[in-house]
Symmetry: C2
Subunit: 337 residues, 2 copies
């Protein structure tokens, strides 16, 4: 019998379609050969081609490194969805509301190496990426016109990326998206009713049940949510309440780097380098001090397609049981850090 | 400069990314050769293979037709996401809510011909499909456990279909999906404030502005919404207020068949048979008599991919201007009906 499960943080239902269920290993594919080359002369993100991108906003550099020493580089996206420069103007033409597309859209080049996937990086490289995320988050949030900062990564063509060189993106928007607002309202109402943060309650319940937990460290839990929308959806959630990724502490960064790399490594080896997106969710900037939200990383492998039903209803049909895929992930052992 | 536009029916923002904008003809591709064969012996939906599917729930038959005379056939989906049979049981385990996956999931085989795309069908065939949709909608809504009935079509692999033989699907759910509830609440509040149906107001405004209208008939308008989420998103909306597709009148069916086929024909010839989903949206059954909702068909071509930003924020980045793509569609002339 199929089962419906409700995401407690959005109240959206997910159909766990056991009639068409797949076992975790059904999602495995042959891992493609990794990009053959550590440097691609035509790649704008490779060392030596820095002139092909807009000037950098930020970089992590280390003494004695090759090229000009950068390990992580952040610059404006050449094909930005939102742009700074213009003043924000709203236009309310009858029933249609619009505004100028003010905002920031940046690219984080994660490594000088063209062929280095995050799943296979040294830990200190992942730490530098997270430090770059934090530095840019904090810089962008100083702009009072910015309402939300979203950090995300698209890995593989099906996940929406066109450039192979490992990179992430940061978008800072001048509005709070409606679905983010709904998430906040749901959490606020839960907090009004119970005095608790719904995200913390869910995390603690996942920890207690344990069947969907992938790993746990001193500061973080990785689990596949009760109402996972897609097979192998995985959340990384801090144990300490904190609504904004910008507030992550120095000492939490190595811990998070380890959890993030381990989860990506398990996906890489367990499933054969699947395409995926991850999103670093933070509360809207105006809600950073509220007690009802917790920043987290949501990893969404692209193993199945969303069709008309999902597009029309917002309800997902998930053909895998989170309890089974989480057990598969736990059993997939990563190398030592 | 990029532009943000808000969908008045959901309040979700869309980024119209003019910096990366594509012109309508950039989305054209070579139309693939259509399926070579009118009948595939291995296809469960082809005539002669009726025994490969579950028993039919409904069919349109005509005197003198080939095989056993069916023109459209509806049967339970062999790989159903939701199933009838069990009683609905809710389980509220702490913060996690679930229920048995009660529901109905049906397949509508649109034609006996394996290679007949809806865009290229005779009008009376499209009419028979719409009659089958209505008949099943009305039959399914008699089940008091059903809350919402969604009719949809996935065309092409990227749109989530695995079987080539033209077919649509119907899913009847035992809950109102949260995003559908949000849409209803938005419309209710607008109705509370103004006494008007937001969907009718938007349709009339689109008609008056005209720049995004694709076509208009006596009973219907097809337009590409002000805040289109994807390039060439097209809505077909009845002029007469009616919240449920189940209530469509006999005389409106030929009119709708003409509009639907013409829009699909324009996409087929204009863009080279793109993959797409369409969804026939109706109000939840409990809200069928409310004045604030209007059933409509939403056509979503799969010309671009949604990446981490869309998945994380619910905000879409659309790289085409609806005013330009609608003009392109108007200029693409369909054959006479």
């Amino acid at each position: 019998m199929a089962e419906l499960r409700q995401d407690p943080t959005t109240h959206e239902w997910v159909i766990i379609a056991t009639e068409r269920a797949k076992r975790p290993h059904d999602f495995q594919k042959e891992a493609p050969a990794s990009a053959a080359t550590a440097r691609d002369p035509a790649c704008p993100f490779c060392p030596g081609n820095e002139h092909l991108t807009p000037p950098e906003d930020f970089a992590v550099r280390r003494e004695g490194a090759a090229n000009d020493g950068w390990r992580v580089r952040v610059m404006p996206n050449k094909f930005a969805a939102l742009l700074p420069g213009a003043e924000i103007a709203r236009h309310n033409g009858g029933v249609f509301r619009g505004m100028t597309g003010y905002g920031k859209h940046e690219v984080v080049v994660e490594t000088p190496r063209h062929d280095q996937l995050m799943a296979l990086m040294e830990l200190d490289q992942v730490e530098d990426i997270l430090r770059a995320y934090r530095a840019r988050y904090l810089a962008l949030r100083k702009d009072h016109r910015i309402r939300l900062i979203l950090i995300f990564k698209n890995h593989g063509r099906a996940a929406g990326t066109s450039l192979e060189h490992p990179h992430s993106q940061i978008v800072a928007t001048p509005v709070v998206p409606a679905s983010v607002r709904v998430r906040c309202e749901t959490a606020t109402r839960y907090h009004d009713d119970t005095g608790q943060c719904i995200h913390c309650v869910v995390r603690d319940e996942e920890l207690q049940q344990g069947t969907r937990v992938v790993m746990e460290t001193r500061g973080f839990v990785a689990y596949q949510p009760f109402a996972s929308r897609v097979p192998f959806e995985t959340w990384i959630v801090p144990k300490r309440h904190n609504s904004s990724f910008g507030h992550i502490s120095d000492h939490a960064i190595p811990d998070l780097a380890n959890v993030l790399r381990t989860v990506l490594w398990k996906l890489y080896y367990g499933l054969g380098n699947p395409e995926f997106n991850y999103i670093v969710h933070s509360a809207p900037i105006e809600d950073e001090d509220k007690e009802y939200y917790i920043w987290h990383i949501q990893i969404l492998p692209r193993l199945t397609l969303q069709a008309g039903f999902e597009l029309g209803s917002g309800m997902y049909i998930n053909v895998a049981l989170p309890e089974e895929t989480a057990a598969f992930m736990r059993d997939c052992k990563a190398k030592a850090g």
